[in-house]
């Protein structure tokens, strides 16, 4: 290995730069939404620090305002986050050189972009702890700090949409998605997932489109994958 840990950490930090604006935007949006939905400043910031998952935090906010039982909030958070089960199952295969502490602290930071960037890295070269944390660690203080900014000055942001920040994450995820196009059966599984997710999004609603769509594409990939091995067993 010619690269030092420092180089890998810096490469990770460089790769996370493109999404920093989006992280800042969504953290401030969450902060402002939190204090406007019945949470105190401290509770809003604590939510970002303890959860570090935008979708879960917004679902929590939404349900907290509706006077519902605690178990239903936890179930909704579990449903919204269920895709993360697949993330650690997949990315964990490349974490052979992580210590248990690195692995299990790393999973705390395993947000969507961290997963995408980790997979993309592992496709090109060995995923090192230094790269993983170089990408993930800068996101955390920015997420928590900008939540505090949004909670403190939430009412000062007048028209955040004019800057297009709401679209930044979508475009970034699209570029990650295309980064995986050389994988076997990528197009067929992506098309299957995409079609199912659009239909479920339209006729059932969010967030069910994510897991249902993903599972159909993954099942198709399993069906199409490497049939030459163990054919007799699967027949």
């Amino acid at each position: 290995m010619t690269h030092s840990n420092r180089d890998h950490f810096l490469e990770g930090a460089r790769d996370c730069l493109p999404i920093m604006l989006a992280v800042i935007f969504f953290a401030m949006l969450f902060g402002a939404t939190g204090v406007n939905n019945g949470l105190s400043f401290g509770e809003t910031v604590f939510s970002s620090a303890a959860v570090f998952a935008g979708a879960s935090q917004f679902v929590f906010l939404d349900l907290y305002g509706q006077q519902v039982p605690v178990w239903s909030i936890l179930l909704a958070v579990f449903a919204v986050n269920f895709r993360h089960v697949l993330y650690s199952a997949s990315l964990g295969r490349y974490m052979g050189n992580f210590s248990p502490l690195q692995k299990y602290s790393g999973f705390f930071l395993l947000a969507d972009p961290v997963f995408g960037a980790g997979e993309l890295r592992a496709q090109k070269q060995k995923l090192t702890p230094a790269y993983y944390f170089g990408y993930a660690v800068p996101l955390y203080p920015v997420w928590v700090g900008c939540t505090a900014l949004g909670a403190g000055f939430g009412k000062l942001i007048t028209d955040p949409q004019a800057f297009g920040f709401d679209m930044l994450l979508s475009i970034y995820f699209l570029s990650l998605l295309m980064g995986f196009r050389s994988r076997p059966n990528w197009l067929s599984s992506v098309l299957a997932s995409g079609i199912v997710s659009v239909l479920v999004f339209k006729y059932v609603g969010s967030p069910w489109h994510i897991m249902s769509g993903a599972l159909v594409g993954i099942a198709l990939a399993a069906f199409l994958g490497k049939p030459e091995e163990k054919v007799e067993k699967d027949a």
């Binding site: 895709r83 699209l174 059966n185 099942a219």
Partner: protein, 108 residues
Amino acid sequence: MLEFLASNATMNNVWFVILLTGVVTYITRSAGHVVLARFKTLHPRVEAALEAVPGAVLVTIVLPPALTNGPLELVAMLAALVASFRLSPIGVLGVGMVIIVMGRYFGF
């Protein structure tokens, strides 16, 4: 504990509820690996399924909003899609964001 889970989330217990949402999130983020790590070798079909995870999940996050956000957002996503065959993530972001910001500035 069951009694607590059945009670409503209120101002009095919200710190603990937030902590629990964090715990649930952490469980989903580690569970997949915890389960898979029990197996020494993975069946080729399981490997193929895991290889498909990033594409299959990301498309469900990207596609439904892209089709329902509005015409300007769709155009920006299509341009970013074309750009992604050639450009790095930063370049793709640049193409998409320029279209969004310009389009909204001119009132589309």
